[in-house]
Symmetry: C2
Subunit: 402 residues, 2 copies
């Protein structure tokens, strides 16, 4: 048995990790745009990378490095403001140089570095900024992770970091994390940039398994706009500094710790989604299969009509039924059911519109629970977190580059 | 060989059709909410109905009637303001009564009527309004189709009607049509409400084939918000009043006529999409298969980030590449290509960002052409029409019921 409790801090809460964040000059706004995370000893490392076939250069370099190093890393460097995606051979050369600069400044092998970029697609990195910035980022390393969490942000309204302490029968270890959103967020993969650190000792295969398992119900169960990006990735680093060694027996404790941190970060991404004013948990029940439950939950969570209705505080349950009905999942209208908060608005083919005013009151809240039953007699369920769609989302994305 | 030329009018342009539109009291706004289309002689009839599993009551009744009558109809009645969807047994009873009222007032058999409803989901029809309105609609029938085209509107900013005259070696016939959008529009099916009339004589099997073929590249190739609705249907009525009999030899002329009218109506739906300010033709080329071309074109056409960028006049071609890359279609980044108007912005893995200012000028237009090459070496193509996404869309849908 293990106990998981929240503690303050983020990626540097586990022992033996340091981080920094600063402005190196990529963002014209002068905001922080370079983050560095370093483990004092060699860490085992695992990553999950986007399923988008237009995969960005830094992800290709990370896959090569993890292969070559056997899943071992000292440093993870991230720039924001430029995605280094769709940048051709120059983009690959720039990504490799970004890794070399980091290896030289930190003092490790090139394949022991991981790199990530986030921002505008199709623009080349300004390498001069990184040539001077990366050594500065090494000089600025500290036990405080907040500056790194801020430096990976693009349109995020607030930084997202979280940490927990996991107490087991053989000792205590910590898990920390940071993440950024907040557009091009969709759940068919590890979305956005996410970073988990732990001072437990974990072999690479177990680390990769725990990362995938923890991501499934957290980073992979969120959506802002249904757009899996070219740069999405989630990393886990485990440096063993706590002395706790994760074996099969302790594996569930590691997953618990990862999941606790990842869920907090993932919900933070949705709360901070572009233009978002509400966090909405969409649960689909009564599905014929697990796949159907996820399919319907994602269709509802990405429905513009559902997201705009909730933005307007309108308990328009018909849009929930319509989205479920066209999702591709098995669906039986006569058995379908819609519940908003604790209010059942549609059941067994019958609307309860007299409850609409109460449901409208509930939708004034910021943290909403909606359940849609598919009416098939099946018992499968899935929950996807989404946010409302506001005019502010349109404004942000119509003006992103201009 | 046949010649197709546009003429004025809509559903009543072909001989032997009359129509009317009026306010019977379903819409609180006082706007027209009841439309009637009648053929003076028995017409062959065909329909395409939504693939949404939450199918509305009037569609179920139409399917029954077409089956029972062998595809023959005199009257097609439509109310707007209430979708009669997700309304359970009461909704079915109301849809049947709506057909009976029409049959009694027009003087035909119940199974020779077709019915359609559009508006809010989950609200029961106010039958009293129809009981008095339908006889009034029969009394108001005339050769002018404009009132009917206005009475089927919900959030549409303008009515959509069109007509053509088709001249063949054996004589001339006409095709007319009307349609309504303008939310819950997505192309995996016959979207929205669409009505085609012709005074050619067409047997039912040929009529159904022509309707499906004409819809594929018109009604089924548009999207506003990726939301196939519970009430989507397209109807065709052929009454033979022109004396031209369509056989296999003249079938292409019928499809040409249907397609000309359906395309004009379909593009009208997109131009009048909720909050739309621009009509955008998204062509995908270089696809490995026809299915892949459609898959990628739809993914791009429904991408919130693409639609908001174009709304803002931002030639953010990276979002086009990202949408193609995550569409599920085969995609090779190194061979991919993006063209906005006549400007190539990305080709063979290389961005041409110096052309961005010219592309931004082009995007100030209202009628835009965008082509994305998937880079697979394949030769399949597809075009989907979409509109931009504006803050006005959010406003309309956040406030639809309130």
């Amino acid at each position: 048995m293990s106990d998981v409790r929240a503690i303050s801090g983020g990626v540097t809460a586990p022992a033996g990790f340091r981080a920094s964040g600063l402005h190196c000059g990529i963002k014209a706004s002068g905001k922080p745009d370079l983050a560095l995370l370093v483990s004092d000893s060699a860490a085992t490392a695992a990553g999950i990378f986007t399923l988008n076939l237009a995969k960005a250069a830094p992800l290709l370099v990370c896959e090569e490095h993890l292969e070559k190093s056997g899943g071992r890393a000292f440093a993870l460097v991230t720039n924001s403001g430029c995605a280094n995606a769709c940048t051709g051979p120059q983009g690959m050369a720039d990504a490799r140089e970004m890794a070399q600069l980091t290896a030289a400044a930190v003092g490790c092998r090139v394949e022991e570095t991981l790199i990530a970029s986030t921002g505008v697609i199709g623009v080349n990195l300004e390498m001069d900024r990184l040539r001077s910035g990366i050594p500065q980022a090494v000089a600025a390393l500290s036990d405080e992770g907040g500056a790194a969490a801020r430096a990976i942000m693009t349109t995020d309204p607030f930084p997202k970091e979280h940490a927990v302490e996991v107490t087991t029968s053989v000792g205590t270890f910590r898990v920390g994390g940071m993440a950024k959103g907040s557009g091009m967020i969709e759940p068919r993969m590890a979305t956005m940039l996410g970073y988990l650190t732990t001072d437990a000792a974990v072999d690479q295969a177990l680390l990769a398994r725990a990362l995938t398992e923890a991501s499934r119900y957290t980073f992979n169960a969120i959506t802002v706009d249904g757009e899996p990006s070219t740069n999405d990735c989630v990393f886990a680093l485990a440096n063993g500094a706590s002395g706790v060694v994760i074996d099969e027996g302790l594996y569930p404790a590691l997953v618990d710790g990862f999941r606790a941190v990842a869920q907090e970060l993932a919900l933070g991404i949705v709360r901070g989604g572009e233009g978002a004013t509400k966090l909405i948990a969409i649960t689909v029940s009564g599905a014929k299969s697990d796949a159907d439950a996820w399919l319907a939950a994602r269709a509802i969570a990405n429905s513009l009509l559902v997201k705009t209705a909730i933005h307007g505080g309108d308990p328009n349950w018909g849009r929930l039924v319509a989205a479920a009905g066209r999702s591709g999942a098995a669906f039986v209208l006569e058995g379908a059911r819609v519940q908003i908060g604790s209010l059942v608005l549609f059941e067994n083919g019958r609307p309860f519109d007299e409850r609409a005013p109460q449901a409208a009151d509930y939708l004034m809240g910021k943290d909403l629970q909606i359940e849609v039953g598919l009416g098939t007699g099946g018992a499968h369920r899935a929950t996807v977190w989404t946010c409302d769609l506001s005019a502010e989302y349109v404004k942000i994305n119509a003006e992103y580059r201009t």
